[in-house]
Subunit: 455 residues, 2 copies
């Protein structure tokens, strides 16, 4: 699981810690300025915040500090920034690109963020304030406003000059073409730029079929477009089709990882954001509501069982099978849930043809239910014989209840997320504790009902 680079970074952490203890300035400086900022960010993550600050003072300039900060988890970077005095903080932040600035400032307390913004040069603060106005999960929130835009009547030679001058724009692959009104009207790949004659007018060789997104577009949809068409970047336009920025593929990768994490955690009812540095209290707050739902469900299940107390008092041995029956149903349900929720997220399951998936899950549930129902029935028979004269019927009941509960669990767990998707509710929200608790109630109800019928 560990990559070599990660192991190397961990060793660097050890070295750096020793050097720090010995106050070996020149050596620390060497490591800090020779390591790739992304690796340095990882090495720093092993240190407490105060050491992180000390180490960063050895960086050769604010540009390097900014590079390291933007490679750290943003909550960690924010912790660092608040420890700097305002002047130093502004100097470092001004070396970041506008989209990274916005991410970082968005993590800070509003008062601190405002103070920093007010201390920034007018031009920078305008840019970042524009960005902060967008929802952080929209195209506007993740875009970089510094894009290379050129007028359609310009020539290739002018475009090349522009590339030469644009040192600040990171990751250039496309040049966006605009008309007199700054409306996006085409795109030119850097490759086309290399191969065209210098005198060529851009509008004659640009690709006019440029796919763009609006600032308010959801980041997940932006990621989907970039992935589907294998883009390296996608331009972002405002209501009047004016070019305002671009989302690059590296940000799209972050979005994809973030959305996967979100689905993962949501499905377990554990909030929707993994914050390593958040306090346990914050974790408690994001998880407690889901557990409350499970609690209510569990109390309902206890009422169901109590209502069958008469049956239970006759055959006490039945109680022993409660966990395994609801457990098997719960597990098969969780499997169906995972397959369907992930299938919907990756668009392998299409909402319009979702019935296929549900029926598939039902078939799987029937096969697995009959299989494990038979096994559990046999175990029951062995356990009940000698204890009660109704052993055969009780064993049959255990087997039949297992099979029925498992089939129904597969059906419920596959149809609830699809139903939610149809209602335009994120299927991942609706799942984990919610469905398993529903299956618990279902399981005990089926169990005792079947027993009452068969015994």
């Amino acid at each position: 699981m560990q990559t070599t680079q990660q192991q190397k970074n961990y060793r660097y952490f050890g070295t750096l810690r020793r050097l720090l203890r010995r106050n070996a300035g020149p050596n620390i400086r060497k490591i800090v300025n020779k390591t790739h900022p992304a690796d340095l960010a990882q090495i720093l993550s092993y240190f407490p915040v105060d050491d992180q600050l000390t180490i960063l003072t050895y960086a050769e300039d604010n540009r390097r500090r900014a590079e390291v900060l933007r490679n750290m988890p943003m909550d960690n970077a924010a912790e660092l920034v608040v420890k700097l005095d305002i002047k130093k903080a502004v100097d470092v932040i001004c070396e970041m690109s506008a989209d990274d600035q916005a991410d970082l400032l968005g993590e800070l307390d509003e008062a601190v963020a405002t103070e920093i913004i007010n201390a920034m040069p007018q031009e920078d603060s305008d840019d970042v304030q524009d960005l902060l106005r967008y929802d952080e999960r929209s195209a506007g929130g993740i875009m970089n406003p510094d894009v290379m835009a050129i007028h359609m009547d310009a020539t290739i030679a002018e475009a090349i000059k522009m590339v030469q001058g644009a040192e600040d724009v990171d990751m250039i692959f496309y040049m966006y073409v605009v008309d007199d009104h700054n409306s996006l009207c085409g795109v030119l790949s850097l490759r086309r730029l290399v191969t065209a004659k210098p005198a060529t007018v851009i509008k004659n060789i640009m690709n006019p079929n440029v796919v763009s997104v609006r600032t308010e577009e959801d980041q997940e949809d932006v990621a989907r477009l970039v992935t589907r068409y294998d883009f390296l970047a996608i331009p972002v336009v405002d209501d009047t089709n004016n070019l305002v920025g671009a989302v690059t593929v590296d940000d799209v990768i972050d979005v994809i990882a973030e959305e996967a994490t979100e689905d993962f955690l949501k499905m377990a009812g554990a909030g929707d954001e993994h914050q390593q540095s958040a306090s346990p209290f914050k974790h408690v707050l994001s998880r407690a509501p889901w557990l409350f739902a499970a609690l209510v469900g569990g109390i309902l299940a206890s009422f169901v069982i109590s209502s069958f107390e008469e049956t239970l008092s006759r055959y006490l041995v039945l109680a022993a099978f409660i966990p395994v029956i609801i457990g098997m149903a719960g597990n098969v349900g969780t499997q169906s849930l995972a397959v369907v929720v992930r299938g919907l997220a990756t668009r392998q399951i299409k909402i319009k043809q979702a019935w296929n998936s549900i029926s598939n899950e039902i078939v799987v549930g029937i096969i697995l239910g009959c299989l494990y129902g038979a096994v559990l029935g046999a175990v029951g028979l062995w356990k009940f014989s000698g204890v009660t004269p109704d052993a055969m019927n009780l064993a049959l009941a255990v087997g039949a209840a297992t099979a029925t509960a498992m089939c129904l669990a597969a059906f419920v767990a596959s149809s609830i997320p699809i139903m939610f998707a149809k209602l335009n509710i994120d299927p991942a929200v609706a799942t984990g504790p919610f469905v398993t608790t529903a299956i618990d109630i279902l399981g005990v109800t089926i169990y005792f009902t079947v027993v009452n019928v068969l015994v």
Copy 2:
């Protein structure tokens, strides 16, 4: 959840289906050749295989057919290819890039794949056979062997000529620089190419610090490198540092999505690959082993309960609380599991400092356990009073058992994946049904032990 483009594609599906029924050739041809191949692939996915074939006959040339195929799920593309006669199949496949060819051929039966490879032109078949030798989850398995490589002594002018000639190489952003022995010794961005003087010798302006991966490198590690350094592509070298290909960012995105799906399904014990088109029987096979583990655990839990039969016969009402206690423990455990497994996968949790995460989860477990233990104890008190004179003690037992089980569940569920990671076993494998069943056993044991102590 539905994107506009997806809705559009679904409408196109409707249109195309009508046109197909009316045999309206010219209209079908227009749609097929005007739609982006990625969208056409999605539209086709709504059709049965035979209709997909018919529609593809309207494509203007094999290049377009190849483009559509490579945008389809590979198992679907393989179904289509086997329905073509061998000559046609080869013609289409030869229009694909070598890495896509390998993906597709890897999906086919070996006999069919061999037949196709033998019918391909020597040069193409050599390339694809080379690729098929690599593990499909390694850098070699996902790389594209067609890269732009240039000798270090060449000039910028020569490099530009090469870009102009290389129509086949899709996604050019870097030019890789090699020495006399074809060893990778540097990299040049396309942007640098645009801005340098034509007479410049490449070795003087190339970046000699080129990060590369070996062919056998795991795809997940490749993805991590590309993500960490914000690369657009990463060169792949063999044992002797010879350049053999490159992995591009679009493939990295696929890897990230695939690995997230894998973790998601593994955690639910539902296999590790989502195959929409797989038969239910295949699904049963991949899920049954996990359920078997759950079954064994569940049977063990039933023995635990049976061993407390005497206690249970005195206080029958205790049975009603079995599901809610193991349910609450199971749910808090699943939450911890999701946080830790995902944290390990995204490297937000570092194995070397994992104790922080475990202790965090324990604190969360204690808080949530006390909270819901108190609630459940109160419910118990209300339920037991009047039924038995030991009501107070039983309620205390229910509350204490809930709290204890929830704390322990958080501990077990967070430490097992970390332990697995330390042993270099994928933490996601070890989880889902495995941990929840362990928690079931733990839960009932704690419950009845606490009751025996307190009553």
